[in-house]
Amino acid sequence: MRRLSLIRELPVVAAILLVPRAASACPVCFGTGDAPILRGSNAGILALLVVTLTVLAAFGAFFRALAKRAGQFTRAENVVVDLASSQSHRGTVAR
């Protein structure tokens, strides 16, 4: 079992080791730390992230509200079912 997982992992490990370092260099800044284009890219990414996260948070809040409503409905339904069953039980006992 252990040998099987090693065989599976081997190609991944080999790929990581064999990929040249240059291929993982940033194609925008090529290693220059504080170039304007790098600061521009960061600002662009940040702007996009802020909007995306805001939209995602709004979706999250909406789904949370839906879950809350669903919980309220289920509780209300259970109360109705309990009431109905207790009334029918009372009817059977009286008979």
């Binding site: 304007p36 709004a58 409503r69």
Partner: protein, 194 residues
Amino acid sequence: MEIPYSVDVRPDTGLNNSKLGIWLFLASELMLFAGLFSTYFLLRIGSTQWPRHALPVGMATLNTGVLICSSITVVIAWSALKTNDWSKHRLYLSLTIALGVVFLLIKRAEYREHIAANELPSLNTFFAIYYTLTAVHALHIVGGLVVMLYFLVTGAKSWAVNPGQFANRIEATCLYWHFTDFTWILLLPLLYLF
């Protein structure tokens, strides 16, 4: 066949279908503009030189006033439906359309000035992003105008058949129109003021 919850509020979401639909559409629109604004930040902060006050602030301010007025008139058009005042609704919807057309005419005059001065999108990245952002926004205004024009022409019949549904459609249009207004208010400082 009647579509359920086109007028009534859905018990699960607390919204009617048209309102939920328009909010989802506006979320996708927001993502479109977020991509464009992100490009703007990349180009602006990434450039070594960026022209300031290269655009006519007066025209842009006038356009802002026009759009804000149109946002008010479209709300009055919707509230007139809620009070069953059809003629008031038509008047204010027509006014909104007219203000939208005025916005586009001012934008056209602004473009003409730039084109006459040979300030085309190919001149630099500033004008490239300026034309892209304002043209995409203007296209949204055109889209809103087409929808409102459609409601102005065919609205009487829809109102007679199903007033609740028609009022909901106008409300969804209102939300979309406010969104275009909001986008313009973001564009104004980014392109014209700073």
